[in-house]
C-alpha cells in the first residue's frame, strides 16, 4: 500500500479529513523549504504538495507565478526539489510528499531518470498540471513501476465519461479543481462542489481532494465536510511572499494558518 493510501485510510478510521498544504519549493529561497515542510507537518498537515518551480506556470494566478519567479531567481531546479524530499525523508518517514508542477522540467530530465530519482528520495506522488492521461501512457507506466502515485486533476468542465477514464488512470487520490480559473482566483461554491463530488464518487473509490479557492478556516471546514482532502495553496504562498524579507518567520507564520485550518476541520 502506498504511503498516500495508508494516510487516507488512517484518517478515515479516525473520521478525519486530510489537510494538504501546497508550497512552491525554493520560495523565497531553497533553505526555507525544509524547515517549512516540517513546520507544516507539526501544524497538522497530512500530505505535502511541493511545487516544482517553472518559468511558465500557465494554470497559476499571480501569487504562485511570483513564487516560481522567486524560487527560480535562486536557481531551484527539479533536482534540487528532489534533494529537498530526500532531506525531509531523513527525519520523516510517514508524511506523503507529492510533487506538483508542469511537465517540461520532468520531460527534460527524462521520465525514466525522474522515476528512478523520485523513488530513491522517497517521493510518493506526482501531479503534472499539463499532462492529461491521453498523453501519459509511458509516464504512467514508469511511475507505477517506481511505486509513485500519479495524481490527476478533475475540473468543473470534466464530463462523466472522462471522470471515469481519469480515475482509472490515476492512483493515490484525485484532485478536484473547484473553480474555472487559475490558482488563487474566485472563491468556490460548496454546494456545486458537493454535487460534482457525488458524480466523481460514482466512478472511483479513491479519496477526492479539493483545491483552488480555499482561503480561510471557514472554507477549509466547509470543504472538509464534503471532500476527503482539503488542498490549500495561494493563501500560504501569499504569507511566504509577505515575509520574504524575514525568512526565519516563514515556517511559524505559515504553520499558524494551517494549524488554524486543522482545528476548524477537526471541530
Amino acid at each position: 500500500m502506498s504511503r498516500i493510501t495508508e494516510c487516507f485510510n488512517n484518517l478515515k478510521s479516525q473520521g478525519r479529513k486530510a489537510l494538504i498544504p501546497y508550497v512552491t519549493a525554493g520560495d523565497p529561497e531553497p533553505k526555507v523549504t525544509l524547515p517549512l515542510m516540517h513546520a507544516l507537518v507539526e501544524s497538522g498537515a497530512d500530505i505535502i504538495e511541493l511545487g516544482i518551480p517553472f518559468s511558465d506556470p500557465m494554470a497559476d494566478g499571480p501569487v504562485i507565478q511570483l513564487a516560481c519567479e522567486r524560487a527560480l531567481l535562486h536557481g531551484t531546479r527539479l533536482v534540487d526539489v528532489l534533494d529537498m524530499v530526500a532531506e525531509f525523508r531523513k527525519t520523516n518517514q510517514t508524511t506523503p510528499v507529492v510533487l506538483m508542477g508542469y511537465l517540461n522540467p520532468i520531460e527534460v530530465m527524462g521520465y525514466s531518470a525522474f522515476a528512478d530519482k523520485a523513488k530513491a528520495v522517497g517521493l510518493d506522488g506526482v501531479l503534472t498540471v499539463d499532462l492529461p492521461p491521453e498523453e501519459a501512457g509511458e509516464f504512467n507506466q514508469l511511475m507505477k513501476a517506481s511505486d509513485i502515485d500519479v495524481i490527476y486533476l478533475l475540473a468543473p468542465t470534466t464530463e462523466e465519461a472522462r471522470i471515469k477514464q481519469i480515475c482509472a488512470a490515476g492512483s493515490g487520490y484525485v484532485y478536484y479543481v473547484s473553480v474555472k480559473g487559475v490558482t488563487g482566483s474566485a472563491s468556490l461554491n460548496v454546494a456545486e462542489v458537493a454535487d460534482k463530488l457525488e458524480i466523481i464518487r460514482r466512478h472511483t473509490d479513491m479519496p477526492v481532494g479539493v483545491g483552488f479557492g480555499i482561503r480561510d478556516d471557514a472554507s477549509a471546514r466547509a470543504i472538509s465536510e464534503v471532500a476527503d482532502g482539503v488542498i490549500v495553496g495561494s493563501v500560504l504562498v501569499n504569507k511566504i511572499a509577505e515575509l520574504a524579507g524575514n525568512q526565519e518567520q516563514i515556517p511559524g507564520a505559515v504553520a499558524a494558518i494551517t494549524a488554524s485550518m486543522r482545528q476548524a476541520m477537526d471541530k
Binding site: P53, F54, S55, D56, P57, M58, A59, D60, G61, P62, Q65, E69, L72, R77, L78, V79, Y102, L103, N104, P105, I106, E107, V108, M109, V129, D130, L131, P132, E134, E135, Y152, L153, L154, A155, P156, T157, T158, E159, R162, I166, V177, K180, G181, V182, S185
Partner: protein, 407 residues
Amino acid sequence: MPTKEDLAIAKQMPDAGGHFGQFGGRYVSETLMAALQQLEQTYEKLWRDPQFQAEFDHDLAHYVGRPSPLYHAERLSRELGGAQIYLKREDLNHTGAHKVNNTIGQALLAKFTGKPRVSAETGAGQHGVATATVAARLGLECTVYMGEEDIRRQALNVYRMKLLGAEVVSVTSGTRTLKDAMNEAMRDWVTNVDNTFYIIGTAAGPHPYPKLVRDFQSIIGREARQQCLAQTGKLPDALVACVGGGSNAIGLFHPFIEDADVRMIGVEAGGYGIETGQHAAPLSSHCRPGVLHGNRTCLMSDEGGQVIGTHSVSAGLDYPGVGPEHSYLQEIGRAEYTAINDDEALHAFRHLTLTEGIMPALESSHAVAEAMKMAPTMGKDQIILVNLSGRGDKDIHTVAEIDGINF
C-alpha cells in the same frame, strides 16, 4: 531523404490525437480539455461543410482581397545574378499580413459555436490586429494579450487594436513578450472557457489548433502553387518563409509536401547570432524536445527544463517554441531550417524597399534575407518562392530607432 510513402503519410498528419510523430498532442490542464474536444468536433464537422467553406472562401475573396499576387521581383533577381525570386504578397491582404486568413476562419468557428467573446495573444501585433478586425466585423467582444516589451515596440498596432474596439492587456510577467502573452491568454481561457473562443495566432498550441491554423493558412500554398505553375510553367525549386510559431511557413509548405523536388526552407530569428545564445531559433540551433503551451515541440529550455528568454529584432518571431509540424518536418528531413540574424534581416528590409519598392515586415525580412543568400548560388532558370508574410509599416519605428531617428 523521406520516401514517397513517408511524404504521403506526412501530408496526412496529424493523427487523431493531434500528434505529428513525437510532436504535437494536447498538453493542457483539465479545465480546458472539454473545450478543446468540443472545438475539435466542431472544426472537423464545419471544415467539411460546404456552407462553412463557401462563407470562408467568400470572406477571403471579398474581405481579405484574395488571391494575393505572386510577384516576380525582377530587379532584385537580376541584381543578385542567380535564381528568380518570386514574392507571395501576403502583405497586400487586409490588415497587412497573412494572419487574417486564420482569424477569418477561427472567427467563423466562434460564430458557429455562438461564443460572444474572443481572446488572442499577439507578439508583433499583427495577429492582435487581425483578431480585433474580425471581432469588430462580427460584433464580438475582444481581448488581446500582449507583452509589455512588445507594446513598446509595436505602439502603432496597439493603437490600431484599440481603434478596432479591442481591449489590449499589457502582460508584465516573465520576459514580457509573446510567450508570456500566450500564458496569460491561456489563463484567461481557463477562467472564461464558457463564453470565450480563444483565437490562437500561430500553428502551435494544443490540438486541434496546429491543424486548424495550418488548414486556414494553407490557402497561401495552394494559391502559390497554382500561380507559379501558371506564370512559369513549373514548380518552384525552393520555398522560403520565416518561422516564429510558423503559421505563414506551414501555410506555404503544406500543399507542397508531396512535391519532393521542392525544397522547403524555414528561416528562424538568429537574433544577435546563434553562437551568442541570444536568438529565437529552437529548430536550427539544436532541437531539445519540450512541452509548452499545450504541445510537444522543439523548445528553447535549459538543462532544468526552464524556458529560456529569447531575442529577436522582430517581435513576431520572438518565441522560444515552434509549431509542432515544423519540428516533425525537420525530424523526417522534409523541411530545412536555418537562421538569419537581426542585422541581416534589417539589411534585407532596406534592400527590398530600395530595389522593389516593397517594404517587408521585419519578420518577413528574415525570409527575404535567406533568399538573397541563396539566389546567387543557384541558376538563373531556378525559382525561389518567398512568402512575404507581412508589410513593414508597423516596423518603421523600430528601424527609425536603430537609425537614431525620433519622431
